[in-house]
């Protein structure tokens, strides 16, 4: 039952990078709309409005990935505790706990890579005007 959702499943493991993909697509589309259709080009607080939208999308992506990462770390801690408690290598309970620790670790690492990748995508938003 514990493995129904979240960092212990394959889908949970892929979620942080799916967030990266959604963010990547979102900023590319918004930037395309701004340059192709003139969407949100008015200046607000020293930058074009579209830049603020891009930054907001980036912050949302950071938040979602961080949340997944923290969740994964908690799951990993719990699984590590269960591994220690289960002890014996051949018992099914121990095997399941080890598997959960593995997938939770993997999810946390995927979240780290996704965080770095969103950072890579986000930095140009701070450095460049949207339609130069």
């Amino acid at each position: 039952m514990r493995e129904k959702i979240g960092p212990w499943r394959l889908t949970g493991m892929a979620t942080p990078l799916a967030v990266w993909a959604a963010h990547f697509l979102a900023v590319y589309i918004m930037q395309g709309l701004a340059c192709g259709e003139g969407w949100q080009r008015q200046r607000v607080a020293g930058a074009e409005m579209v830049t603020w939208w891009l930054l907001l999308a980036t912050l949302l992506a950071f938040a979602a990935i961080a949340w997944m990462g923290v969740w994964a770390l908690r799951c990993r801690r719990r699984a590590a505790f269960e591994v220690r408690a289960a002890g014996d290598a051949d018992r099914p309970v121990a095997t399941a706990a080890r598997r959960r620790r593995f997938t939770a670790t993997l999810t946390a690492l995927v979240a780290l890579v996704a965080f770095i990748a969103v950072t890579f995508t986000g930095i140009p938003v701070l450095l460049l005007p949207p339609c130069a």
């Binding site: 192709g36 598997r99 993997l106």
Partner: protein
């Protein structure tokens, strides 16, 4: 559910022999040529992919040598410009579509079931069909030479060069149809391999014990599922434009040639990693054996593969830096291109650490891996250079790019492939390759490769363009080119030496001991000669390296006293296990040898040949036999008396797939719908991309029309969804006593099908008036294709509904064996959801402006 693989007492040898004999009888291909043509077993099909892939490698290599001869000197006249264009196009196309992807899939089809403890692939007929599509697609492409109509638009077939105005012959048609035909194999293999890895692993092989090659193929198969559809769509759109004068890519009628580039590279860049990841999986398998220790950083390598699988989809525009895209957008892709270097680096460091901490055994496979490290790292570094926009602007379309891509592809794919070839050859043939001839071949390939492609970095930086049959003498690059050409022949001779080595090994090589490299993974537990069923009993796994953990596993694999060891039913059976836990969950019955895959592929070939010949009516008529064959295929899946449960071993009753939630058919549907969803998303992307460049939308002369008829169509679609759901619930509400629930839900399926047909008619009428002919404008073209795409889905769902109705009446589908109805109900839900999006895009979006 727990299990053991061995009986408490050893099996009687006579009984064991009788069971093995029966297993051989059940799993063997039928004798003679007919038996070979009907074969569907994974070892046979996988080996065919591998051999055909090598044949296309030779063909593509010969074309490459002609290209090098032409470029050896600035005024060489080996090929005239037109022939040069054809050879360049076919060289790239062959290597990417007919060699690299199919051969890796062949290795996966051959090896993966053995590696994860399965007897076969979950859909043997599908993989056989995929092979014939691949073969016929490749032959289609090469047959263009016979008609002097070889494609010449480059392996990326940019428009407008390849539209009917600038490429009026049949060359582009051969390419578009041949490649799409061959791609069917890749997409089917993706479905097959995902389901295999998810639910056919040996008991105990949970996620953390999966061989890294299985992880690599799982990620690769998902990448194919999302990466290939954009190219399939682009090819279909361009062929429709060429054949029926639609306007997707024609500027004068509102189209956009850059749409082709986006769709092509949405496929094209992930394709590089689709080629690289399986090879990386091979590296991880081979390196552990020759370092004589478990791989270092297993979790990190899995992380790297998953990360590459995602990040590689954010790189496509780095092939389009020079087309005039705003700097910020270029920066997004430049950033992703650099980010992907992180997981690639993780993998390389994990491999180095494995060698560093192990006791390396310098044999041929390891030699190829060392060559791989050097070449691939150089290719990766020039890749990071090319990810920088300013540098790419300078060297775009120059031979620097040619050098880079060959370093990446030959270094990253072919060297691991040869390592894998030498590594697994003794398992497949039972004979060892010659170490001395193999080493000579390696050095020829290694030196020949580097001397061929290293100079191209320089010729590219000096300004030598790619894809052009000559270059100006003033560039002073002729000597470097001559060196490349001469070294290219050394490389070619090295390749021939590898082929000779393999041939000699087959004929008179030293007989291999069982598990000659002392490897730890399960494929080496398979006895030699490799039986078609791989394992007499499905082995249980307790470690990532089962043969290092329990060396007796190879003995157990030859004893028919464990899981599925007693073939009482005389049918081909696989064990299905849990996705995460790999605990036994089901017994999967798979099909035996049949003509259906070959006949279906032949019918498809005739259909496509008629299309190329512009006999459109004949092509349309060929749909009928094709549908009949697919109907026969579906009808022969399963049987009336299929049990709900089977005894997998004494005391262990498991449901058959017809009654199991994790049935392979279910997961095949899920993966197929993912692929279809990617295709649909690409089409919606095309709609909005065309919208972005067109003002007003719809253009002048095309109306949005009244909403009345579209609403009627929507109502019919919603009604069909309700009826399909009603049919599914009716079946589920019957008692599960195992008796056929005749007629339950049958009428509702009929209603769903009729309402679906009504929707198709109503939506057609809704569009015919206001939108008019699809040739008028890109808007009309894309709207009709979007609507037609969805109509095809409704038609398929309606046919599936009628099929399930008939199957329910005939007792194949019951409340206890609901798989087919479950799959059809889900298909219907998907078709309706797709319809809602299509309806909103076509009828609501234009009214929002």
């Amino acid at each position: 559910m727990s299990t053991t693989t061995q009986s408490p007492e050893p099996i009687d040898p006579l009984e064991n022999s009788a069971r093995l004999e029966e297993l051989h009888r059940i799993w063997s291909n039928e004798p003679g040529l007919a038996g070979q043509l009907k074969a569907v077993n994974h070892s046979t099909v996988g080996m065919r992919f591998i051999l055909t892939g090598f044949a296309f490698l030779l063909a593509g290599g010969v074309l490459g040598m002609f290209i090098r001869l032409q470029l050896a000197w600035f005024d060489a006249e080996v090929l005239d410009p037109a022939r040069f264009n054809q050879f360049v196009t076919m060289h790239g196309t062959t290597m990417m579509f007919l060699f690299a992807v199919p051969i890796l899939e062949g290795f996966a089809m051959y090896l993966l079931p053995k590696m994860i403890g399965s007897r076969d692939l979950p859909f043997p007929r599908l993989s056989a069909f995929g092979y014939w599509c691949y073969l016929f697609g490749g032959l289609f492409l090469y047959s263009s030479f016979l008609f002097d109509a070889a494609p010449d638009g480059g392996w990326f077939m940019y428009v407008p060069l390849t539209d009917s105005t600038y490429s009026p012959g049949l060359g582009a048609d051969f390419w578009l149809i041949g490649v799409t035909f061959a791609e069917i194999a890749a997409v089917l293999a993706a479905v097959e391999l995902i389901v295999l890895v998810l639910i056919n692993r040996a008991p105990g092989m949970d996620l953390r014990r999966m061989p890294l090659f299985a992880w690599a193929m799982l990620v690769t198969a998902f990448m194919i599922a999302f990466g290939f559809p954009p190219l399939i769509l682009a090819s279909v759109l361009l062929e429709i434009q060429r054949a029926f004068d639609f306007a997707f890519f024609e500027v004068a009628r509102g189209g956009d040639p850059l749409l082709w580039q986006h769709l092509f590279w949405l496929f094209g860049h992930p394709e590089v990693y689709i080629i690289f990841l399986p090879a990386a999986g091979m590296v991880s398998m081979v390196i552990a054996t020759f370092a004589r220790r478990p791989i270092v950083g297993y979790t990190w390598i899995v992380l790297a593969m998953v990360s590459v699988g995602f990040l590689s989809f954010g790189l496509w525009v780095h092939h389009m830096y020079t087309v005039g895209i705003p700097l910020l957008a270029l920066a997004f892709f430049s950033a992703a291109s650099m980010a992907v270097a992180i997981p690639m680096g993780i993998q390389v460091f994990a491999w180095i650490a494995t060698l560093w901490s192990g006791r390396p055994w310098m044999r041929l496979p390891l030699l190829y891996l060392l060559g791989f490290f050097l070449i691939f790292v150089i290719g990766g570094l020039t890749g990071v250079m090319l990810a920088m926009v300013p540098l790419d602007w300078q060297v775009h379309d120059s031979h620097f790019v040619v050098a880079h891509l060959h370093y990446v592809l030959i270094g990253g794919m072919m060297f691991p492939l040869f390592a894998g070839l030498y590594y697994w050859l003794p398992m497949a043939t039972g004979r060892m390759p010659s170490e001395s001839l193999g080493r000579t071949a390696f050095w020829m390939v290694f030196i020949g490769f580097n001397l061929t492609f290293l100079p191209m970095h320089l010729t590219g930086l000096l300004g030598m363009p790619r894809r052009v049959y000559t270059y100006p003498e003033e560039l002073s690059v002729q000597w470097l080119n001559l060196l490349s050409t001469a070294a290219g022949f050394v490389l070619a001779v090295g390749m021939v030496a590898i082929a000779v080595d393999v041939f000699i090994s087959l004929r008179s090589g030293r007989r291999a001991a069982r598990n000659p490299w002392k490897a730890g993974t399960l494929e080496w537990a398979v006895p030699f000669p490799v039986p078609q069923f791989n394992f007499a009993s499905i082995p249980e796994v307790r470690d990532r390296y089962p043969l290092w953990d329990r060396p007796e596993t190879d003995e157990a694999a030859n004893r028919a006293d464990g899981l599925l060891g007693n073939p009482v039913d005389g049918r081909r059976e696989l064990l299905g296990t849990g996705i995460l836990s790999a605990e036994p969950e089901q017994v999967i019955r798979v099909s035996t040898s049949t003509w259906l895959p070959l006949l279906a592929a032949l019918a498809l070939s005739v259909l496509l040949a008629c299309f190329i010949a512009k006999w459109y009516l004949a092509a349309a008529l060929m749909v009928l036999p094709l549908l009949a064959l697919f109907a026969a295929w579906a009808w022969t899946t399963g049987h009336r008396q299929a049990p709900v449960e089977l005894e997998a071993e004494p005391g262990l009753l498991l449901p058959t797939q017809y009654a199991c939630r994790n049935a392979p058919g279910w997961w095949a549907l899920v993966v197929s719908l993912l692929i279809d969803g990617a295709l649909f998303a690409s089409l919606v992307f095309a709609y909005f991309y065309l919208w972005l460049g067109t003002e007003p939308w719809p253009p002048d002369g095309i109306a949005t029309g009244a909403l009345g008829m579209p609403l009627v169509a929507l109502g019919l679609l919603a009604g069909s969804a309700v009826a399909a759901q009603w049919a599914w619930r009716a079946l589920r509400s019957t008692d599960g006593d195992g008796e056929p629930a005749r007629g339950r839900g049958g009428f509702a399926w009929l209603v769903a099908a009729l309402l679906g047909a009504g929707f198709i008619v109503a939506h057609w009428l809704a569009l015919a008036g206001p939108v008019g002919a699809p040739q008028a404008h890109a808007y009309a073209s894309v709207v009709w294709v979007l609507a037609g795409f969805h109509m095809v889905h409704v038609a398929v769902a309606a046919m599936a509904a009628l099929f399930v109705m008939a199957r329910t009446r005939c007792g194949f589908v019951t409340a206890a064996r609901p798989l087919e109805a479950r799959v059809t109900a889900a298909l219907w839900r998907y078709a309706v959801a797709q319809g809602l999006v299509t309806w909103a895009v076509i009828h609501l979006f234009p009214r929002m402006g």
